[in-house]
């Protein structure tokens, strides 16, 4: 069965090449080339979303296997004025799993957004608009979503203040919300899986060596039914040499159901221009507001590490390892993953990942490891 799916994935990969699909978001592994700050390539201080002109140049010259001059332009051909940065993402995945209880393969639509950032003097106005696939739509409006929209004031080259809807700063910025450090701790979980981006006020200092991001989190006042964290986060990071960075993140959040403190270190280490390690470990103290006078605290943690080696420019061999136990007192909250695969940026605008994993998920009743394969493709315009 696995062989059948591997052949299918091979065909998908071939189709991907022939029809030129693919990538975008924040790629923290770029730290190995000396880009220790997200704002090298992205408008957002926390990375992801609209690319800067410099980020587009890098996508052609450093990130991708092949490219022709000008291929990095928005949608391949748009010459946007200096004050306007354009972007957009389409992401989908196909996964196959063979658990002790079921064997299935499934296509997953993930994201289809357009985004633009307009710069006027010291201000940046950024907004996205896209399509989502709600489980139970009531009106046509339910298909539309603006995941991010914010205004940012650049007091200096290093200091900025941002208000609007976006993910609060925490840990390594990655679009892979399925990682255990994101999924099990419900951090940076997009709609409709999680509660999506919240409304925040963020102050950021992006220096040569140190970065400090402080975020006031105001939840989702636009949708009070969403139990989104209200609280604050702080991220302090330090560049180590020219191609590595370590940081410490803290998040406090509360809603009607719970309050929590999450803290953890992370590292983005570029050993060479081709060999890198991304790693993050977070500890959570979750207090449930179950009933007056009864507020049990659940201690837990999650960890994710990726060791990558760029075989040829744009083509990475990756080894992943993940561990989570969201309640130390409950052994059935244990999850583990070990995987290996490829992560490829064949041309500007295109990204694909194919990975085989062995997974264990006691919460789902899977004490034994089982097969899991995913193929993800991403087009960033």
């Amino acid at each position: 069965m696995i062989g059948t799916f591997l052949r299918l994935f091979g065909l998908l990969g071939l189709g991907f090449l022939l029809f030129g699909e693919v990538p975008a978001f924040a790629y923290p592994d770029m730290v190995r080339h000396g880009y220790t700050n997200c704002t090298s390539c992205h408008v957002s201080p926390t990375g992801g979303g609209t690319l800067t002109p410099y980020g587009r140049q890098l996508s052609r010259e450093v990130l991708s296997t092949w490219a022709y001059e000008g291929e990095e332009k928005p949608a391949y051909f748009i010459n946007s004025p200096d004050w306007l940065d354009l972007g957009g993402d389409y992401r989908s995945a196909y996964y196959y799993e063979n658990t002790p209880k079921l064997e299935q393969g499934q296509y997953q639509f993930m994201q289809l957004d357009l985004e633009a950032a307009a710069n006027y003097k010291a201000f940046t106005f950024d907004a996205s608009a896209g399509y989502q696939d709600p489980a139970a739509p009531n009106t046509a409006r339910d298909y539309l979503i603006s995941r991010t929209h914010y205004v940012m004031y650049h007091a200096t080259d290093q200091l900025a203040l941002r208000f609007g809807r976006f993910f609060p700063a925490y840990g390594i910025q990655t679009p892979n919300h399925a990682l255990l450090i994101r999924d099990t701790l419900n951090i940076h979980e997009p709609e409709p899986l999680g509660d999506g981006e919240s409304y925040n006020l963020e102050g950021s200092y992006i220096g040569d060596t140190y970065n400090v991001l402080v975020t006031g989190i105001f939840g989702r006042p636009d949708d009070p039914s969403v139990q989104r964290d209200i609280g604050a986060s702080v991220v302090v990071s330090r560049a180590l040499g020219d191609s590595s960075k370590v940081g410490l993140s803290y998040l406090y959040g509360t809603n009607d159901l719970q309050k929590r403190n999450v803290i953890g270190p992370y590292g983005m280490l570029g050993f060479t221009q081709h060999f890198y390690l991304l790693t993050e470990m977070d500890f959570q103290a979750l207090t449930l507001k179950t009933a007056p006078g009864y507020n049990p605290v659940e201690w837990g943690m999650a960890e994710t590490s990726r060791l990558g080696y760029e075989i040829v420019q744009g083509l990475n061999f990756i080894i992943d390892q993940e561990f989570a136990r969201t309640q130390f007192a409950n052994p059935n909250t244990l999850e583990q993953r070990y995987g290996a695969g490829i992560w490829w940026f064949p041309r500007p605008h295109l990204e694909a990942s194919l990975e085989y994993q062995q997974r264990q998920n006691k919460g789902m009743g899977y004490s034994d490891f089982y097969d899991y394969i995913y193929f993800l493709w991403h087009i960033y315009i």
């Binding site: 080339h33 000396g34 880009y35 700050n37 040569d208």
Partner: protein, 202 residues
């Protein structure tokens, strides 16, 4: 007769000794036959982008003698510079350094903070100072820096560092894809160069 003999002996002794006494030991460090590289480091803002560029080994000859005198110069072929991003490299060389019009940077050394008594000896010295005049983009300005030298019998391993302000050299502050390069650029040179003793007149 005795006086004449004495004068003759003294004159003879002077004539024999004079050529040696009038020459100091002088050493040549031959960068033309060196292996090495040059590098530069700049910061781009916003985002604190670290721009690490590379270049060829500098060429030329430096001399220094036990009389304390220092001379010679080294040049760097600007066409060899590479920032790792081809469009950025082309912008740097064509638009800012104007390498077609000013193809070389030249550093003439004027002072060397190494004891003159070390000429021709084997030694290692950290953080030795040097001063010189750098000609870049058609403009000559004094520069100073530090170097580390491992001096062996037949070669010297040198690592030198200095900082330049690009605005001092009538070079516009480079801007590329929204990134502005900071005015100060750090330059480092590594070379393993043959050394040889030469005679020099005082």
């Amino acid at each position: 007769m005795k006086l004449q003999k004495g004068l003759f002996s003294a004159t003879l002794a002077f004539l024999i000794a004079a050529p040696f006494a009038a020459h100091a030991s002088q050493e040549k460090i031959d960068f033309d036959r060196a292996t090495g590289s040059s590098a530069f480091h700049a910061v781009g803002r916003p985002s604190a982008i670290k721009i690490n560029g590379t270049g060829a080994s500098p060429k030329g000859v430096l001399t220094w003698g036990d009389d304390g005198r220092v001379g010679g110069s080294v040049t760097l072929d600007l066409s060899s510079l590479d920032t790792g991003i081809s469009m950025r490299t082309n912008h740097m060389k064509e638009k800012y350094l104007e390498a077609g019009k000013f193809p070389q940077a030249k550093l003439a050394i004027t002072e060397l903070g190494i004891p003159a008594t070390n000429v021709s000896k084997e030694f290692t010295q950290e953080n030795a100072s040097f001063k010189g005049n750098l000609t870049l983009h058609g403009v000559t300005k004094p520069v100073s820096g530090t170097l580390r030298i491992e001096h062996h019998a037949k070669n010297a391993v040198v690592h030198a560092e200095f900082t330049v302000k690009i605005s001092d050299y009538s070079i516009a502050i480079p801007v590329f894809a929204g990134i502005t390069v900071a005015d100060e650029v750090n330059i480092a040179v590594d070379a393993n160069a043959p050394v040889s003793l030469v005679a020099a007149s005082k």
